[in-house]
Assembly symmetry: C2
Homo-oligomer: 258 residues x 2
């Protein structure tokens, strides 16, 4: 009997029919069985949101040998929960989120639906990876992103001992694949987004605002960050915390008089 | 000239007219000027979500000496961004989120709109605190929660040196104030939510699912966690990370052959 191909779970935040997700599915077909549960609609910026006030719908959009695709009416994290707590009858060896259309480097990781879903997968005690290409356009070219995604997936699957939970934030520069200089494991760049709210008036005279942010880099010259790696043409990998405790501050604050 | 009272920013995820937020506003009136920007509607479980696909509306619901309240059509984090990047002309000394109706201890912190907003405030380089009472009902009794919130706020304002960014996750047990045994600085309890999707059929015969979770505690016997503190009648304070890099894993993975 032929050994079965490994089962991989996939999701994203751009919706089940986004180009980035389907590029990854196509590339993985020869080597994996896949279960895909992804949002019905675009859910960018949904972070770790879950749907509490309304019910969820699930729609089977593809059912083939070694490939099942479902569209979920909720958020990326809802999709992960439905997959792991309701659909999957076998634990996947790996969970993937993306490939996202647009960067999730630095502090963007906390707003990202792609990374919210990846972190949620990490809570099911399997390695999880979120992939993002630095091009937000629907028609972005995923050639380089897919090439490096496969290399990183292969590397994780070959690793004998993995410290779980593991959730990796992988960003890929938007340059031709032969110009990408390699892979760097790095830390999250410090910085934040500031919004320039664009104010308009609706036909009834009510003001409304469009959120249009700019990223302010607090450490332009640091050389060990994801921003720096990407700027220099490298793929960045940031391993993420799932325990959000700030242990340094905890040590200090325990000694305070309360 | 009388010295001006300090300016405090407030938000929440239960909506601008929730009882928990208004209990905190009432208690702070004698000692602070306040700017409040909170969601128009309930936004529980919205985590760090931002609104990208539609514009935001802002409504002034109260304008008094030392107290301005705005309702924002978006998420808790949208409310924070509108406040800091569009409304505030003076930097507050402190940002508060809550008091939330319901617990945000352990891993709930990553799904919580209350804590998403608190973390966002932390990115504006002022101390921020999210408060949550372990009672999700609209009519919950906030007496004990307000008493301890004021003690903690006072303690932070009196502290001479604060390591910024600082974002505290404070949970208050739902017992009478005189039975609360004190305050404990602790770490986030390891564990996760597993969903039991309740399946129903709509009048047209379509299946739909309600997300109904149970918390699985991975360390029932640990004594330094927020869950343990709360179970024993203490108020829990967990200082939170804003940098999500997992530095231990980073050290190990840097040595991998890529």
């Amino acid at each position: 009997m032929k050994p079965q191909k490994p089962l991989i779970f996939l999701t994203n935040d751009d919706g089940y029919n986004a180009k980035g997700l389907n590029a990854l599915i196509d590339a993985l077909r020869p080597m994996a069985r896949m279960m895909v549960v992804a949002p019905e609609t675009a859910q960018s910026g949904m972070s770790h949101a879950i749907t509490m006030g309304s019910p969820l719908f699930l729609r089977n959009v593809r059912q083939e040998e070694d490939l099942e695709i479902y569209a979920c009416s909720g958020t990326p994290v809802d999709s992960v929960k439905m997959a792991f707590d309701s659909l999957l009858t076998e634990m996947p060896v790996l969970a993937l989120s993306g490939i996202n259309h647009g960067s999730n480097s630095a502090v963007s990781v906390i707003y990202s639906g792609t990374m919210g879903a990846a972190m949620e997968c990490g809570l099911y005690n399997i390695p999880s990876i979120g992939f993002s290409l630095l091009d937000h356009r629907a028609e972005a070219d995923f050639t380089g992103a897919v090439y490096y995604a496969l290399r990183i997936i292969d590397r994780i699957l070959r690793q004998e001992e993995i410290d779980l939970p593991m959730c990796l934030n992988v960003n890929i520069p938007n340059i031709p694949v032969d110009q990408i200089r390699g892979i760097r494991v790095c830390r999250q760049n410090k910085g934040y987004w500031r919004e320039e709210f664009e104010r308009r008036q609706d036909p009834r005279g009510r003001d409304y605002y469009w959120l249009t942010g700019v990223f302010l880099n607090q450490e332009e010259h640091a050389e060990d960050t994801d921003e720096c790696a990407l700027r220099n043409g490298y793929v960045s990998i940031v391993p993420m915390q799932i325990d959000l405790t700030n242990y340094q501050q905890l040590d200090r604050m325990e000694r305070w008089q309360w």
